[in-house]
Symmetry: C2
Subunit: 376 residues, 2 copies
Amino acid sequence: MKNVIIYGSTGTIGQNALEVISRQKEKFNVLCLACKKNKKLLVKQIEEFKPKYAYLEEKDENLERKYKKIKFFFGEQGLIEIANLKEGDFYIFAIPGIKTLPAFIECIKNKKKVALATKEILVAGGEIIEKMRKDYYFEILPIDSEHNAIFQIIKYENKNLRKIYLTTSGGPLYRKRKKNINIKEALTHPVWKMGKKITVDSATMMNKAFEIIEAHYLFSLNENQIDVVIHPEAIIHGIVEFIDGTSKFVGFIPDMKSPINYVLNYPERVNSGLKYIDFGKIKRLNFETVNQNAKWLNFAKEAIRRKGSHPVVLNGANERAVEYFLEEKIKFQDILKYVEKVVQSHQYKEKLNIEDIFYYHNWARNQIEKIVGGQK
Amino acid sequence: MKNVIIYGSTGTIGQNALEVISRQKEKFNVLCLACKKNKKLLVKQIEEFKPKYAYLEEKDENLERKYKKIKFFFGEQGLIEIANLKEGDFYIFAIPGIKTLPAFIECIKNKKKVALATKEILVAGGEIIEKMRKDYYFEILPIDSEHNAIFQIIKYENKNLRKIYLTTSGGPLYRKRKKNINIKEALTHPVWKMGKKITVDSATMMNKAFEIIEAHYLFSLNENQIDVVIHPEAIIHGIVEFIDGTSKFVGFIPDMKSPINYVLNYPERVNSGLKYIDFGKIKRLNFETVNQNAKWLNFAKEAIRRKGSHPVVLNGANERAVEYFLEEKIKFQDILKYVEKVVQSHQYKEKLNIEDIFYYHNWARNQIEKIVGGQK
């Protein structure tokens, strides 16, 4: 019986994880459900999974009174306390942003099993986490479908690699040549049902940029070994090309329950009722190269080359710009423009500690606020 | 330095193997070149690779006089003597038919490394070879692109398999609805340049039937775990589907040098100048299910279920029928019809020794001869 903790239980990853767990209740016990503020759904999940612990960003005495058997955690410190739970076996990180970076680091120190959906943890904290390998042995199980796919190959064969391909369905704007993108268009993803922030990132392709940075840290590959290929059907999620010309592809029906089921049961495989690829239905897999000069791609490669404060600022600026777009305060095409401005104007620092990361993150968010404020 | 022996050096596999070796001369020494009768090409190969041994089916004193330093082997016994060469490290089996089955068995006994292109060895001798696992440890490295692909996955992950797919380009007659197929049509393969016999087998799909039987023995899978999918681009060669819904695909540009390079260097991978998959060029991979009631498919499944004399007769009858077709003595559509007749009429025997295999093989060939003779 594995005691599972879900940071982000009410998000799409969290919900999918609970669905996978509900089909394998004999193997997994939900120890802790953590969410930011979706109380209604959290209560529903508490009723069903009866966790020993729960988390909300802000203290809630009503809930505490209602569920006296549950110990509630709150605030930044609460995230860390959860990472320190003795009974905790398996931690799923699925809260967007860098808030759980300290908890992730704590988990590694505590030798907990970690599964990662929050790519910002590696985008901003990758360098720090990488350095921890000196003192700790740990394996990060990737939930992102692309990294999960690559992991399923590299786990077994990690020598003689030439490069990897992360696939992308192309995002909400694939083949749309329109100039003014409204919110609805940016939020209509052809394949994946995800949160708003990540869906906008899919539209700008910044999501893929962050995935490249994530892949860099997960698989120790340099920026020339990580490529992206458009694959609208989203059946193939990752490709590893070896030096002899042979490539291995990993495919599954686009359903986040698949990588979640994989990491939960890893290194075993368990049939949890997911659909198999049906070639009678699929018939065709399309592939298209990406523009190697695209802004998002260069953002990613530069971030890998420079490291330090660079990816932190990239992520922070993008996060705030997307928020503004979702509030309809800036135009779609301004997102990357503003992000670029902030990245280029920032005073680069090479070696960051965890406080620096939060400093640069907030600095970048503030810069976007200044730009948008100045606009008015 | 590996001492390599090539049974079938003048065939397409043999020629490709020598090309791969010629690019990695520091690693491979051609110890023995064996061919049936293509003396002209053999002489050319001898001049280039200077083997210590050579083989022709029939004794040739001229060649022996010309190349005094080379020891020549001849006849059935010669094939076995080659398998007993002390210096022999790595044996490539690429002579069509079951002639080298005894040599293959001898190689296993002698603990030689074996790479297999001759699928008839497993189709007819699979049961005997399987039983040898009790007394000998051996690994058969498959050269057939489909089996090579599957091997590259199963080698690393062989648990929790649901099924495998062998891909087929569809063969020379894919999407041709014509009834009377002439030799030229049956010999025009859209992807692979191969010998005549195997190209006709691709047209009748019997090649795929034999590959299913081969896969059964190579990977210990039952007939329901081996499926076939049409994939005209021939980029993906094999697919392994796991019980959790995830599939791994292995792809490479259709060039037999790729699997040959793989087996020669196994378990390492070496860049020998083969092309990488270029998604800018490939753009699209098509897949199509096969008719699950096709005669060739049922031949394969029945052969796996029944074993014993059944697959031996299937292979022998098909071999002779294809020869007749190539001699323009029977029509294309008669090949499988006659094969079916012989398979159905034969007196089944369960346990065969090696002599029985040759007996049933020749019996099946004779039956085809009787049918064709009776036609006239």
